[in-house]
Amino acid sequence: MARRGWFEGAVELLIRLCGLSAILFVFGIFFLVLGEGHDFLLHRLDFVEFFTSIEWRPTDTVKPTYGALALISGTAAVGIVAMGIAVPFSLGCAVFVSEFCAPRTREVLKVIIELLAAIPSVVWGFIGLTLTNSLIIKLTGEPVGLCALNAGVILALMSVPIIVSIAEDALKAVPDGYREAAEALGATKWQVVYKVLFPAARHGLLAAVLLGVGRVVGETMAVLMASGHSIRMPFDGQFPYVHPLSPVRTLTATIAAELGETPVGSDHYQALFVIGLLLFVITFAINLAADLIVKGIRAE
């Protein structure tokens, strides 16, 4: 008996330690990225320049500048295009899967969506370089098809599976009584969806969209390969304000493209870690918000 007690104690301790690991890794990531970039972040980074200047010239030998506005705008432009396509499609798809289709079709569609989610981001990037690139050249007549639109389309396809699966969960979580009550009053299926399900599931749907945004902001390889990779503002004051055919560069792509060529510990190297920190904070906030919203629903 005593031996078993000792053994079980050890096992329980091991299980508890592993349970802590997720937190340790998240903290580890945050503090390591902060640690690598903190010297530059605290002492030499000009925050005003970082957030308002579009001059990202970290390799300039005379006066390097670290303005990330164009990179932030690049991420925003790609995100706007991606969400503009993905949100209506995913919500429509989620409604169809959860409300309109037969169980068999539902199973097939869910498998297809799962397989779509499985395609690695580097393969998506390759599709962007080849297939959508030539499609955009053909359709618009631009000389090069690597632009915010290309990356946006690719990212839309990548984020649809996430949004669909969470939105479908949110719709399923609405009690059947709501549907039955509405149908008993003579509402059609569409009226049930539009007048009952959307309002009842709005928090879950919002969380689904937020997680899609998180994916879009953090995606690296696909964006690196498909966005054209030139530091340019995709926004200006003229209609239509966002220019999807302009090649852009995102925060994530900048790190992936430049980290390999910077000396460890240099200002440029540290600046890339500061961008990483910004990305960490943005995605952390988005995930936290989505998580709180989902928890809020469950508590109700």
Partner: protein, 291 residues
């Protein structure tokens, strides 16, 4: 059902709207099928000239311009295998903790939040973490560093799958076991884990497929473009399928196009095969489930 009330103009209009919306949503759902087929078809057609046994069974020659891609395939297997050996035990035990041991208090909520956020950390931030953490391993990029980065990145997949599998075991099973005097660990070992093994297995396979496709985390931590020999130990660098696809696709005009497509097809086939296996296992086990 509406016919009961007669075909009033309003009822007709409502039903027409419902039909239109159903078709619209159906078309949206169907349009998710098209890209999958289009992408797979396009890649396979473009890669067809190089796809043969030699392509996947030969070592590369002349900076990847000739020969096969065996070393990249093996490199991916090494990295995925080591990352799995690291992340599967920790991930499974973490899920056991969260589902079986943790009480519902603020601490557990923070741990859960940690898992959610670990899944949301961008892959390139994991890469930065890997680069920063390399000094603690060898100081040089190597397979071990790349695998550990991959392992941390894909761990949430296995935690989520295991948690779901454990939660699917009915509470009554545990209670029955406790009632005959078994301890928590005995219950876990003899009742809970055997009954959730299938779910855990599908999670592990899913993690393998995720890890095989990831590129950003291994960019700076252990993947190389070309190496004549296979790696000798986990402290060597290695080629990898995903990194190879990225580098051949972005080196303009160096590598023949069909060889780029060939690499993409092999990577995609590997990942989709693993995913398909995970899905079919899940369907199979669900059909056999007795409760």
């Amino acid at each position: 059902m509406m016919a009961m009330f007669g075909e009033t103009p309003l009822a007709r209009k409502k039903l027409a709207t419902q039909r239109r919306m159903k078709y619209l949503f159906g078309a949206m759902a169907a349009s998710m099928v098209i890209p999958l087929l289009l992408i797979v078809g396009y890649l396979v057609v473009q890669a067809w000239p190089v796809l043969d046994w030699e392509f996947i069974s030969q070592m590369p020659r002349k900076n990847l311009k000739e020969g096969g891609i065996l070393s990249a395939i093996l490199g991916t297997f090494y990295m995925v295998g080591i990352s799995l050996a690291f992340s599967a035990p920790i991930g499974i035990l973490a899920a056991v903790y969260l589902n079986e041991y943790a009480r519902d208090n603020w601490f557990t909520r923070i741990v859960n939040l940690g898992v959610v956020n670990l899944a949301g950390v961008p892959s390139i931030v994991h890469a930065l973490f890997g680069v920063g953490a390399i000094v603690f391993i060898t100081g040089e990029p190597c397979i071990l560093a790349a695998s550990l980065t991959l392992g941390i990145m894909t761990m949430p997949v296995i935690i989520a799958a295991t948690k779901q599998a454990l939660a699917a075991v009915p509470m009554a099973f545990r209670e029955a076991c406790w009632n005959v005097g078994a301890s928590r660990w005995q219950t876990l070992r003899t009742i809970v884990l055997p009954n959730s093994l299938s779910g855990i297995l599908t999670g592990v396979i899913l993690e393998v497929s995720r890890a095989a496709g990831e590129t950003a985390p291994i960019l700076f931590t252990g993947a190389v473009f070309y190496r004549k020999q296979l790696p000798h130990s986990i402290f060597d660098q290695s080629m990898a399928l995903s990194y190879q696809l990225f580098s051949v696709a972005t080196q303009a005009g160096q590598i023949p196009e069909e060889r780029q497509f060939g690499t993409a097809v092999v990577l995609l086939a590997l990942v989709l095969f693993m995913n398909g296996a995970s899905i079919s296992l899940r369907v199979y086990f669900r059909a056999r489930k007795k409760w």
